[in-house]
């Protein structure tokens, strides 16, 4: 019997070449718990980080920044494998904040040409950070080796059903990826959501937006990858209907204007915008917001379905050669 979540996992897997989910029936004592075989590859590659198409010499999981969203259900088992191809230059590692396992055995860095595997049970529901922990960890995180794992609660009725979901990962951008000292000195040059500066700011060249319909409960799974700065997450023109610390339905707050998420932490934010319009989601730490951490939630009756992390990877469109008709209004 396939549960909807299992089917969703399979569908997701079809879109991510090296991330596979192999659902298996678990013992009756943990009814509906599944085992997921998740493989990721450390990829040292260039990624686009702004709307002008500027490329950055990133270190990534599976060639994208952030890495792929992993989604399981509370109680599921994750059999994880990290491959560091021989073509890479540097050691890499993986630390899942959703796991409760021995650090020494599982989170050690592996050299290029090596593989590491470990298994954990996602015991607690929530939104969790994952990241590379190879030294210097500050550089591995700053260069892009981070992502999010959602552990859905076993009891889907533990919180209101969301009509639309997004994952936002905040992280700092340092222009010189080799300047570790600037990372220690907290001299960031930009602030990114989902690996892009002003990625969801339609008033900035190349920027897009997040979409929703009026009255929809929009659920934002928010991770602060850091490596250093706190996020003061606020919806301009709105109030968070609910905030769930670490994304656990048991950690529920109501009617929150701004909520601080520290580096290496995460929270889930629900907002229901009743009226059409634009509602920018920002860190209210303005030196960060005005250098990239603004995501405009555009609420319109015409909003179309969207993936969890739109515009990842960021493909910047270049002007095409033919002139297309102006749409009629």
């Amino acid at each position: 019997m396939f549960t909807p979540r299992f089917v969703q996992g399979l569908l997701f897997a079809t879109g991510v070449a090296t991330l596979t989910f192999m659902g298996q029936m678990a013992p009756a004592s943990v009814a509906f718990a599944k085992t997921h075989e998740i493989s990721m590859t450390a990829v040292e590659t260039d990624v686009v980080i702004d709307g002008s198409g500027e490329k950055y010499a990133a270190w990534t999981f599976n060639g994208q920044m952030p890495g792929p969203v992993v989604r399981v259900t509370e109680g599921d088992t994750i059999k994880f494998t990290l491959t560091n191809p021989a073509t890479n230059k540097y050691p890499h590692a993986m630390d899942f904040h959703a796991a409760e396992i021995d650090f020494l055995k599982n989170y050690r860095a592996i050299n290029a040409g090596e593989t590491i595997s470990y298994t954990f049970v996602a015991k607690k529901p929530g939104i969790f950070f994952y990241h590379c922990g190879a030294p210097p960890m500050i550089q591995h995180v700053a260069r892009g080796m981070f992502g999010a794992i959602i552990v859905d609660p076993q009891n889907a009725k533990a919180w209101p059903k969301a009509d639309r979901e997004y994952v936002l990962v905040q992280s700092e951008h340092f222009k010189n990826p080799d300047d570790v000292q600037s990372m220690f000195d907290r001299k960031f040059d930009g602030m990114m959501f989902n690996g892009g500066i002003f990625k969801y700011h339609p008033f900035v060249t190349g920027g897009g937006k997040l979409d929703a319909k009026p009255g929809e409960r929009v659920r934002i799974y928010f991770v602060n990858a850091g490596p250093n700065e706190f996020s003061s997450f606020h919806p301009i023109g709105e109030i968070w209907d609910n905030v769930y610390e670490s994304g656990n339905p048991a950690n529920k707050l109501t009617g929150v204007q701004t909520y601080v998420v520290g580096p290496g932490s995460a929270a889930t934010f629900d907002v229901v915008a009743e009226s059409a319009g634009a509602y920018p989601l920002v860190t209210h730490s303005l030196t960060a917001a005005l250098r990239g951490a603004i995501a405009v939630l555009l609420v319109s009756p015409d909003a179309k379905p969207a993936p969890l992390m739109p515009m990842v990877p960021w493909t910047v469109t270049v002007p095409q050669t033919e002139i297309t008709p102006v749409p009629a209004h």
Binding site: S52, F203, T205, I323, T324, V326
Partner: protein
């Protein structure tokens, strides 16, 4: 959306359009912009009541783009202004006095 075939170092201007004449003159506004050198892209369907213009910042200024709409006879009853708000991006954004009344 309208594109040109010019590859440019682009900036984006967001112009707020106000007035009953804006919607009927939308096509004329887009065509006026696309007739200019240094314009790469004009979008009217992303943000309600706004036109987004990707332009060569070395040759044009956002305020000048607003003036083009305001002087366009085909856009009677439509006023354009550069959208300024708390999410105006970047450290290069500067203090701009309010226009004289």
């Amino acid at each position: 959306m309208l594109w040109s075939d010019t590859a440019l170092p682009l900036e984006r201007a967001a112009l707020l359009l106000t007035g009953a004449g804006c919607r009927p003159s939308q096509q004329a506004i887009v065509e006026a912009f696309m007739g200019l050198d240094g314009i790469a892209r004009v979008e009217t369907d992303v943000i309600p009541d706004h036109v987004l213009i990707d332009y060569d910042g070395g040759r044009l200024k956002g305020e000048a783009l607003a003036d083009i709409v305001n002087e366009l006879s085909a856009a009677d009853g439509c006023r354009a202004a550069v959208m300024q708000s708390c999410i105006t991006a970047g450290i290069e954004s500067r203090v701009v006095p309010s226009p004289a009344r």
